[in-house]
């Protein structure tokens, strides 16, 4: 067999040899360039197409065919071969089958769809379709499939339709797919009705090959219209059953599995037809179960069939037994050692969790492994899974993972998809506003302009409007948090290279609320913003925003530093008219009436409604004065002509004249965010009327005279809908139960006078002490969730907002004498635990009563402990001094404690857990790596400290861990410890200079969480 090709000319042989031996793309290109020149020369002389022997050793026809194959090589290796394609068209008419097929092949591969040569082939194809020679006919059908374009369909559709009843099964199976192609190209010529008719007939063909190829058509048509083939479900089921019973000839077997691809197709079609159709689905349950069992033969093709069954089971009307079987298959895939099967497992899990989240719970470790797998495909699939199982409880963990992946992948396509997903879950599930701000800021930084404008817009309106529940204090806190984050961005090393959208958001945020920064003075902010505003590489719109921010800050500061004056002066000569106008206005106001500035740029008023006085009554005094001095009174008729652009001033309520020709130029179109940012600055300067779209023509109104009106900046907040996301009754309320439940934690020793963002994670220092416990609870919760990614998915655990206030189930026993972890909020845990775990331990009544814990949280805690499958809180009677218990509770608990209370030292040197100190664990880096995956609980934490690597390791040693290795190159260190001889603790830290990023892993969730807290308080 396969001897046809071995008769090569020496020239072709040399070409192939050269290509085969070439070592680089460049070399290959040179070879092909030479080949093109040679071929052009040879093929220009018309090939002697006559048959018959011409020379003793060369057959010109054979040579001509070889030229075509060489043409195919030229295009395959990326070079143009259009100059020679006419020879391929000629060759299609050859009487030799091989030559004809080669001609068609080259045409199909190289002719662009709109190429005129395609038309030249129609005649030849028509001839071949009606040829009595089966091979010619088959070649014709294949050529039709690849060469016909929509215009040509009518010319051949009839012939191909006839072939559906050809004697040869080879022709019939190709003809039905060819017709499908025609239907794709020209549904008006080959209609859906016709296709349906043909398909029904072809499905019952006596040759299984025809049936097999028809399945493709059925799938495609059902995707388009599910109703089309509902009635054939029983036939499909019967076919699948026959295949399963090995009724097909053994030739169809693949590795002893009967026709796996036909099975997959059938199952897939069932999945499409059974969607949301209980009757159709019921007819499939049995066969799906059977097919899945039979296919499970331990080979890949079998797994592929099983996987197809899983997909179908998930998509059709649910059946509990089948779902369990599917979940079982998924869990076998996911636990497999083969990454291919793991991939199927993760994908299958992603499909099933959306509607049946309970199946996810058992796979949390495997999913974590997949997420950390170096295999990018697997990672992406796992992220997809995480995205689908996001709920209010795990959203923080999941978005963190997504953002982390985003910061690393160079794949723009993927980046866009993931960016949109982060936005979606952040808006839908944000546990609190501070988190939302932080996440979106991070996202703006890593994804830049891939983030939709409106997302930045939403962020700004959130800051401006607050949560909408009139809690001014928390709004201010949020703003402060946002400002500190933005300040951090502003002072980062390459601030000029930050994404445009982040810079613009930052400019607005700092302009409005820069004064809230505790760390940075307005002067410093101004200086930095001025520098940034002069960065030539930034687009003018961004610089405009920065200049506006500078103006606002000047107004807030009350003085204009030289740098700001210089920037504004410079931009009075800007080419951008808008910017120039604004700078000139600002300069004028600054020099003539600086006392107006605070009124023009009112502080924190961006969300106020602008009161417009359409009658301009504030000018009455001035008008009176003028009249008094003998001026002519205003007569509207004088001005009421066509080219009057003052219509707006005549606006007197109901009788607004229809705007006639608008003579003033239209404003430059602005995207909403830009518009908003521009307005926020300009709204005060320009007539307020303009910014809230009063009648046309008022655009250029005198700026200087306007500010007397109540010109609070009108923020074009067109995103009020977002308020619902965080608003009343929304998730923003979530943290509050924490503070009500934990009155004891008000004395947390975290004064932190100068909060940066990092600090605010643990406790944003605010002037108001009562805020602290809430934050801490939140932070605890955060740590907690990182470890429990699967929170809220667990059966029974409804993702209610109250889950947010879930206490850390630190292992505090029911007896009040438990050793609290050195976390500031430990008492809270203690107390909650008392009431939550209805343990037989002699929990004193009064204490339980005093903490009215909702039954909802009881259920949650219990289920969490179920899934964790760890002794989260085993009642251990060991009496150990409770921590920071003073005020009301101290007295209440006093009687219950064996030992006097003492404050837990915030920075005690050794970490203890349940009173058991951590012991250094002498392991090697390799062992560390092995153990890393075995530790279920992961708690990432970030500490703001300038500590270097050596100091970090010293600290870890001091805490009780064994420093395993310090990797100076990447500023990373690892340490290991052991608690109670059974619980492993692994610490990984990365020093960035300004902070230490730590990941703490342990076999016990409680330990990981408490250690994270302990370390962050010890290191700060």
């Amino acid at each position: 067999m396969a001897t046809g090709g071995l008769n090569l000319s020496s020239e072709f042989f040399q070409l192939l040899k050269a290509i085969g031996e070439s070592k680089s793309k460049q070399e290959e290109d040179r070879i092909i360039a030479k080949e093109v020149a040679r071929l052009k020369q040879k093929m220009e002389s018309p090939p002697s197409n006559q048959t018959g022997p011409q020379a003793a050793f060369t057959n010109p026809k054979k040579l001509a065919k070889e030229f075509l194959v060489r043409l195919l090589y030229v295009s395959m290796l990326g070079h143009d071969n259009s100059w020679g394609l006419i020879r391929a068209v000629e060759m299609a008419a050859s009487s030799s089958l091989f030559h004809k097929r080669t001609g068609y092949l080259v045409c199909g591969a190289c002719l662009p769809p709109d190429h005129e040569f395609r038309f030249m082939l129609v005649n030849q194809m028509q001839r071949d379709l009606s040829s009595p020679n089966v091979l010619e006919c088959s070649g014709g059908v294949l050529a039709c499939t690849s060469i016909i374009t929509s215009d040509m369909v009518p010319a051949v559709a009839g012939e191909v339709t006839k072939l559906l009843s050809h004697d040869s099964a080879t022709i019939r199976k190709k003809a039905i797919l060819c017709l499908q192609r025609f239907y794709q190209l020209a549904p008006e010529v080959v209609t859906q009705e016709e296709m349906k008719k043909h398909v029904e007939k072809a499905l019952c063909d006596k040759d299984p090959a025809v049936m097999g190829s028809t399945l493709n058509v059925i799938e495609s048509l059902s995707l388009e219209n599910k109703a089309l083939f509902k009635h054939i479900v029983p036939s499909l089921v019967a076919i699948l059953k026959q295949i399963g019973d090995r009724r097909l000839p053994a030739e169809y077997d693949y590795h002893r599995l009967p026709a796996p691809w036909m099975q997959m197709k059938l199952i897939r079609i069932l999945g499409i037809l059974g969607q949301a159709d209980i009757v159709a689905s019921q007819g499939m349950y049995e066969i799906l179960n059977e097919a899945m069992k039979k296919a499970d033969s331990g080979i890949n093709a079998g797994y592929a069939v099983v996987y197809e069954c899983v997909k179908t089971i998930v998509s059709i009307y649910p059946n509990a037994a089948l779902l369990d079987a599917a979940a079982e298959a998924i869990s076998r895939f996911i636990q497999s050692r083969s990454n291919n099967l793991k991939y199927l497992g993760v994908t299958g899990l992603a499909m099933i969790v959306e509607s049946h989240p309970k199946y996810a719970a058992q796979h949390q470790l495997a999913v974590m492994d997949c997420l950390e797998d170096p295999d990018e495909t697997l990672q992406v699939k796992t992220l997809d899974l995480l995205y689908r199982m996001t709920n209010p409880v795990n959203v923080e963990f999941i978005s963190e993972k997504l953002v982390h992946f985003l910061s690393q992948t160079p794949d723009l396509f993927l980046k866009q998809v993931l960016t949109d997903r982060v936005c979606k879950i952040a808006e839908r599930y944000a546990p609190n506003n501070a988190w939302y701000c932080k996440t979106i800021t991070q996202l703006l930084r890593v994804s830049g302009d891939l983030v939709q404008q409106e997302v930045a817009q939403n962020l700004m309106s959130l800051l401006a409007e607050g949560t909408g529940d009139d809690d001014e204090e928390s709004d201010m806190l949020l703003r402060q948090t946002a400002v500190e984050m933005m300040v951090k961005q502003l002072f980062s090393e390459h601030a000029g290279a930050l994404p445009k959208i982040l810079l613009e958001t930052m400019a607005w945020c700092l302009g409005e609320y820069g004064y809230l920064s505790a760390e940075t003075s307005l002067d410093m902010l101004l200086e930095q913003l001025c520098e940034l505003a002069e960065t030539r590489s930034l687009p003018i719109t961004t610089r405009k925003c920065l200049v506006t921010a500078v103006m606002k800050l000047v107004a807030q500061a009350g003085t204009c530093p030289p740098a700001a004056a210089a920037v504004i002066d410079e931009y009075t000569r800007s080419k951008d008219m808008d910017l120039q106008a604004r700078c000139l206005e600002f300069q004028t106001i600054l020099t003539h009436c600086p006392q107006l500035l605070p009124e023009i740029f009112p502080v924190d008023a961006s969300a106020e409604d602008v009161q417009v006085d359409p009658n301009l009554s504030f000018l009455d005094g001035y008008v009176q004065q003028c009249l008094h001095q003998g001026a002519q009174p205003y007569d509207a008729s004088i001005y009421d002509d066509d080219d009057d652009d003052d219509d707006g001033y005549g606006y007197g309520g109901a009788s607004q004249p229809e705007p006639s020709f608008k003579m003033t130029p239209y404003e430059k179109p602005q995207t909403p965010a830009q518009a908003m940012m521009a307005m926020a600055g300009a709204g005060q300067l320009r007539s307020a009327a303009q910014s809230i779209s009063l009648p046309p023509g008022s655009g250029g109104g005198s700026m200087i005279s306007q500010p007397k009106a109540d010109t609070t900046p009108q923020l074009s907040l067109n995103t009020r809908n977002v308020a619902n996301v965080w608003g009343k009754g929304g998730l923003s309320q979530a943290p509050q139960p924490a503070s009500t439940q934990t009155p004891t934690t008000t004395h947390i020793p975290t004064p932190a006078p100068a909060p940066s963002w990092g600090a605010s994670k643990t406790s944003v220092s605010t002037p108001k002490a009562p805020e602290l416990p809430q934050k801490t609870a939140e932070q605890l919760e955060r740590e907690r969730q990182a470890a429990a990614l699967f929170g809220g998915i667990v059966p029974g655990a409804a993702p209610v907002p109250s889950a947010m206030s879930l206490p850390v189930p630190a292992p505090v026993p029911a007896t009040p004498a438990a050793p609290p972890p050195p976390a500031p909020s430990a008492p809270e845990v203690d107390l909650l635990d008392l009431s939550i775990w209805d343990t037989p331990a002699p929990a004193p009544g009064p204490v339980v009563d005093s903490f009215d814990v909702a039954p909802a949280s009881l259920a949650i805690v219990e289920t969490v402990s179920d899934t964790e499958d760890e002794p989260v809180s085993v009642p251990a009677p060991a009496p150990i001094p409770a921590a920071t218990m003073d005020d009301p509770f101290a007295s209440m608990m006093g009687g219950l404690q064996d030992e006097p209370l003492e404050s837990f030292p915030a920075a005690s040197s050794k970490f203890e857990y349940n009173g058991v100190p951590m012991a250094p664990l002498q392991i090697t880096t390799a062992q560390f790596g092995q153990q890393w995956g075995n530790c279920a609980a992961t708690t990432p934490t970030s500490v703001q400290t300038t500590m270097n690597l050596t100091a970090l390791l010293a600290k870890l040693e001091e805490v009780g861990a064994h420093p395993v290795e310090a990797i100076a190159a990447s500023n990373e260190g690892i340490a290991a410890g052991m608690i109670g001889g059974a619980q492993l603790v692994l610490i990984h830290g990365r020093v960035t200079g300004s902070s230490v990023e730590m990941t703490i892993k342990s076999t016990d969730t409680g330990i990981a969480t408490s250690l994270a807290l302990f370390l962050s308080s010890a290191m700060r």
């Binding site: 067999m1 192939l16 057959n59 199976k173 495609s220 691809w261 291919n340 990018e376 495909t377």
Partner: protein, 160 residues
């Protein structure tokens, strides 16, 4: 459905390409080199699937040659539909192609494919039509090829 089938060696040189949707020659080169670069960067232990510009790519390596199949959602599935291709099924299909080529040419190698490029196309054309798997029965696939060869030998003999 299948958008393209490629055979590319580990130097990144294309040895076979068959497209079932039109992509210009320049784009094909770019696509092929990107995909092979991605394939080469992956270890044997990693899974045989990857995503590239909306294509779900399934590849399998035989000695120095990568067999690569790119798939897209069916055109009738509508905009933004998910690609429901069975990755593992396609991976096994690649193997079916290779088994079929093996049966046809003894044991297929890179050079065999180079020397008989057009015939490899004919074999693949029997298996995949319009981006759908039309046949996996080796007997049915190879019968027309064998007939064609016999006929061409007959006519060759006539010319001599």
């Amino acid at each position: 459905m299948i958008s393209f089938i490629l055979m590319v060696n580990k130097q990144g040189q294309t040895r076979f390409s068959s497209y079932y949707e039109w992509i210009s020659i320049d784009e094909r080169s770019a696509l092929e080199s990107e995909i092979i670069r991605k394939c080469l960067s992956r270890s044997e232990l990693q899974c045989s699937f990857l995503e590239y510009r909306g294509y779900k790519v399934i590849y399998r390596r035989y000695a120095s040659l990568f067999f690569i199949v790119g798939t897209k959602p069916d055109p009738f599935a509508g905009e933004g539909a998910e690609n429901n291709e069975n990755e593992l099924g396609m991976l096994e299909f690649i193997h079916a192609v290779v088994e079929c080529l093996d049966k046809w040419a003894g044991s297929i190698c890179e050079l065999d494919i180079m020397y008989q490029l057009e015939e490899v196309h004919f074999v693949v054309d029997e298996m995949v039509q319009n981006g759908y798997i039309v046949e996996t029965n080796k007997v049915n696939i190879l019968r027309p090829i064998a007939l064609m060869e016999r006929e061409s030998q007959k006519s060759d003999a006539m010319f001599r």
